[in-house]
């Protein structure tokens, strides 16, 4: 296939990717968009297949079957709640592929006298470096979300220094390569140091901040892929990679803004360590916790005018979305006005709760975003917090010592009564005390969210 023809066909792929993202602006077309993107990807693979047309076609086919088979099975089997770690995993392997390409390209151009051109060498070094960070970082993010390792931040003295030294080491070796030192080992060291950096860089970040990290690493992989396009002089890699790099960066900023924190604070703040000051303030609030039985809560709900559900990660863990919807339907049948208040960062990814509730066929108009939901709490009889914690923590409004001070929250404490469904009094994922639980308006319903909701459903039915 001629250079021009293949590039024109790649252009169609690029357009399909842009359309895929464009269609994501409305839920009605989003799925179609994704299919267009997938079709574009198939086209790019087909074009490359014909273009390469070498004797190794069977090796390519076998490799694609292995990788694709794994991807398909993993993506089909995973439960909706485990989606965040799946995205991390697939992001990581993409970064790994970019780093491997860099390695192979350097191997090809390096043996003297083949001194690589500066821009090619730069592409190789940077995509190796960024791809490796993305790979290692994503694997740690995966392990944290899968709870293979502790979600809490892991910190030690001199951590920033070690990370900085690793990064500078990786960068130094890379610069030496670009400057013309022809030694393949330099790239190996660059990659090894970047892998170590990727691991150590994500380890101190708390599990609650993983979505921001995954989004950032997603952007990293995109950039690594774009740089790979420079090595291979391939347009589709440059454009598609950079499209992801730019959009991922913007998404990262938007997510950090939704939590009212800077990206730097997310990445280097080791957020979620229980700070002494905040814990002391929370303890000082003292106060007792009121707990209620499912029967009490069922009565409260059935005789309310307006009930707002506030879902959080606990809902996802307990897979309680269908039961919540069932409860909501029952209440509606009794004439109660039901809605759902969705905080932008509830769960572990933005939009996580929307996905789960959509799975349970909750009608769209009942899903209220934060700005829409907050004014309604004052005329709400019962706010039911299902496994959410930090996004309803009043400390974010009032306690300057709290690590989440300044984050916009759902003002559930404006409601007449707040019912909190929670497994125990343990602080949430971010490890921060929540004075909401000590509020006299609040009653706690302890237990697994799914079991509690099932009990509520049974009790409301008997009323």
């Amino acid at each position: 296939m001629s250079y021009n023809l293949s590039n024109l066909l790649y252009l169609i792929t690029i357009v399909s990717f842009v359309l895929a993202l464009r269609f994501l602006s409305s839920p009605a077309h989003a799925r179609r968009g994704n299919q267009i993107g997938a079709a574009g990807m198939v086209l790019a693979i087909g074009v490359t297949w014909v273009k390469v047309g070498s004797t190794s076609w069977w090796a390519i086919a076998i490799a694609m079957l292995i990788g694709g088979g794994f991807g398909a099975v993993a993506a089909r089997r995973v439960r909706m709640t485990a989606m965040p770690q799946m995205v991390a995993l697939f992001n990581g392997v993409g970064g790994g592929a970019a780093a491997l390409i860099a390695l192979a390209e350097l191997h090809k151009v390096l043996p003297p006298p083949g001194a690589p051109k500066v821009d090619i060498a730069l592409g190789i070094v940077l995509s190796g470096l960024i791809g490796s960070i993305s790979f290692a970082g994503s694997m740690v993010a995966f392990a944290k979300l899968q709870e293979l390792i502790r979600g809490r931040p892991i910190t030690y003295a001199g951590q920033q220094f070690v990370n900085g030294a690793l990064f500078i080491g990786a960068l130094g070796c890379g610069i030496a390569l670009v400057a013309g030192v022809q030694d393949e080992w330099l790239l190996w060291v660059t990659i090894a140091a970047s892998l170590a950096f990727g691991v150590l860089f994500v380890l101190p970040i708390g599990g609650a901040d993983m979505p921001v990290v995954i989004s950032l690493l997603n952007a990293f992989t995109g950039i690594a892929v774009a740089l790979g396009g420079f090595e291979l002089e391939n347009n589709v890699l440059i454009v598609a990679g950079m499209l992801v790099g730019a959009s991922g960066t913007l998404l990262t900023l938007m997510m950090a803004r939704a939590m009212n924190r800077s990206v730097a604070n997310v990445l280097f703040g080791a957020f979620g360590q229980v700070t002494e000051a905040a814990a002391a303030v929370a303890a000082g609030n003292g106060g007792s916790v009121r707990s209620a039985t499912a029967e009490d809560v069922a009565v409260m709900l059935a005789y309310a005018h307006k009930v707002v559900f506030v879902p959080g990660y606990g809902l996802a863990v307990a897979q309680a979305q269908h039961d919540v919807r069932q409860l909501a339907d029952l209440l509606e049948a009794k004439g109660v006005e039901v809605s759902y208040a969705i905080h932008p960062v509830a769960g572990r990814m933005p939009g996580h709760m929307n996905v789960l509730l959509a799975e349970a066929n909750v009608p769209y108009p009942q899903l209220k975003e934060m700005d829409e939901a907050n004014p309604e709490f004052s005329r709400t009889d019962v706010a039911v917090v299902v496994g959410a914690n930090d996004v309803v923590n009043p400390d974010a409004r009032s306690n300057q010592g709290s690590p989440i001070y300044g984050m916009p929250i759902l003002n559930v404490d404006d409601a007449q009564t707040v019912v909190v469904l929670k497994r125990s009094m343990n602080p949430g994922f971010a490890g921060i005390e929540n004075p909401l639980f000590y509020n006299p308006k609040t009653v706690m319903l302890f237990g697994d969210a799914k079991e509690s909701i099932t009990k509520l459903v049974a009790d409301v039915k008997t009323l």
Partner: protein, 105 residues
């Protein structure tokens, strides 16, 4: 086309792609941010094109063989997994105009 002309051309489209990426994403509602992350994740699976080029080179060393093979495996997992996960997420956003009515129970 000389190497430098090509490079300038590549840098041009790189910069344009940055603006395009920002422009397209700023229209996506918060509700769809998770599928967006997953969708862009699938798109960078296009790295498979690079991996295929590496593995498809003629007269390659054993080293390139192994590395290229591994790269194709990883990239294929990225492509297929990325699109399937995104599709599963978006499947749940099917338009539903059904009136609010309690069913099942």
């Amino acid at each position: 086309m000389s190497h430098n002309t090509l490079l300038v051309f590549e840098v041009t489209i790189l910069v344009l792609a940055i603006f395009l990426g920002i422009e397209v994403i700023s229209k996506v509602p918060t509700l769809l941010h998770t599928p967006l992350m997953s969708g862009t994740n699938a798109i960078h699976g296009v790295v498979i094109v690079g991996a295929m080029i590496v593995l498809g080179q003629p007269d390659k060393s054993a080293f390139t063989w192994i590395v290229g093979f591994a790269a194709v495996v990883l990239a294929a997992a990225n492509v297929v997994g990325g699109f399937v996960v995104t599709d599963r997420m978006l499947e749940m956003f099917k338009s539903r105009e059904r009136p609010k009515k309690p069913d099942e129970t």
